[in-house]
Point group: C2
Chain length 361, copies 2
Amino acid sequence: MVKEGIGLEDIIKGIRQADGEWIEKARQRTDQLVMPTRALGRLHEISERLCGIYRTLKPSMGRRAILVMAGDHGVVDQGVSAYPQVITGEMVRAFLRGGAGINVLARLVNADVWVVDMGIIPELDPASMEGGDRLLIHKVAKGTSNFAKGPAMTRQEAEKAILAGFQLASDLFHKGVEILGTGDMGIGNTTPSAAIGTVLTGRDLEEMVGRGTGVDDDGLSRKREAIRQGIEVNQPDSKDGVDVLEKIGGFEIGGIAGCVLAGAYHSRPVLIDGFISTAGALVAHAICPDAVDYVFAGHCSEEPGHKIMLDYLGLDPILDLGMRLGEGTGGALAMGIMEGAVRIFQEMLTFEEAGVSNKES
Amino acid sequence: MVKEGIGLEDIIKGIRQADGEWIEKARQRTDQLVMPTRALGRLHEISERLCGIYRTLKPSMGRRAILVMAGDHGVVDQGVSAYPQVITGEMVRAFLRGGAGINVLARLVNADVWVVDMGIIPELDPASMEGGDRLLIHKVAKGTSNFAKGPAMTRQEAEKAILAGFQLASDLFHKGVEILGTGDMGIGNTTPSAAIGTVLTGRDLEEMVGRGTGVDDDGLSRKREAIRQGIEVNQPDSKDGVDVLEKIGGFEIGGIAGCVLAGAYHSRPVLIDGFISTAGALVAHAICPDAVDYVFAGHCSEEPGHKIMLDYLGLDPILDLGMRLGEGTGGALAMGIMEGAVRIFQEMLTFEEAGVSNKES
């Protein structure tokens, strides 16, 4: 069990790289399977990375969970979103009722969905809500402050968000979850994500900012301007992941960063979703670069900056289906592909077992 | 039931385009689902095409089958493959034992696998083999002739192969199969597939020919030369799909073409796999262009000509995972994604049902 009160320094000290020797052993097994050399491409890379993460030749993805982190964002005051802020809480209710995109795709891959109030504006009472047993309250505050005018949150709040995500994910791993998907909900949250991407990858703001849920041209200009102001006013330190989260981030993004750190700390894979989850992974990477060894990228989002972020982290997305919903949907769909990779590794016969001649015969 | 003795002309007459009105009705439903406009990208396109194919707003993919078509190829005499020809029959045995790649991935997506001897060299006796009840014998001949020296088969054999595939697929559809995947096995079969691709897309042979299961540079030269000779000696008529199959094709490729025609004839979706299956779809397209309305491309293969073929047919592959095994593996993995698309369409709540404000609110 992770001790209560564990701090970021302890977490960083507890993270080591995925195990190259197990990856090499796994590659040797792949070479014996009854097919032309590595003919299933990325499926082999996925199963071998899982062997390096679990330090075994029998990786399992039987128990799956998705944490959908929700938060509200003060920066919506700048007119950066096509949808009203009230939708964040409304969608949390939809998740609990089981009727949103993430619920449908999580059922498809047999993953449990947990919804976390990391800092939405409304006060929800799990006891009185349909599906409320799936809602976990870890509210850091009622939405962030408008980062175009000052820091989104305090440093203490940023740490609290990350540690909450770390503890939630750690609890799931202790309960036997073998792969964790991250998801997000928060009207306006492509804005802090693009801001984080700009600061942590060092790329131009113009490349990083897209239309999110679908702002028009004016909204896009306001979004760019809000991010430009936010970076200028707050001067986030790109060497300090917590500082970046504090100045221009969001509570749910911090929670996702905590999930990524927990995967690395406990040697378990974390499957990130799209633009917002990847902003969380960027924060985790800034805190502890080795954490990325434990991360799989579920898909490449339509949001233009996503590919840049993934390239920066060295992650190759599993799917590319023009999706841009968030919630964890891209990760959920990718769980099915990862399960395929594991089954190929475990269940496919070797040339010898199948009685099939090899190339050299 | 399809009448015995149905000919290609009758099949062509029985094929109509997918239904644009049902696709439009499906788009209207998608617009009501609780997410930003079309935020799940290709998933919507998949579910809406299925509505147009089935002519319903309740498409179902509950019953799934994969037909793995096997054949041998005389052109291996030209030294075009990295593996010995005996492997075709050995792999058929491995499929029946359930230990090959396609078996593993078909189990993942709950698809039944049937293996068809369309024209392999060995005589297999289903009654005396492990898993023999999954083997269907429709042997056109014991392997094709070497097309570098003359036609691969007779015109009668080409028609027989296509009609066998048509009947097999029709039987499965009549038994309630709702989506059919095509697969292939045949040492040397990237060579006729590349030849078909060259003739039917009109592109350069150099763009179309890859290393298949992994030939070295000399093998690649021999493969190119064999295809060049085959086209020169046989002068296949690109306006006549049956002629192309006869001159430079393969029995399993003809069987796959028949599956594609059957999907279109019975208004059922056919999920093609990689390079060889797509060569079969090209033959079907040359026979009846509208048939492609019923085809989904499971993945983009590593074989360089595959993308060119798919573009020619106007098909956008669902997955791109660097796979190049064939057998139907790419289609099987993609079935999981298509199931996700169907479930989103059926199970996701509308804005109204979920009580969530829409953009205009």
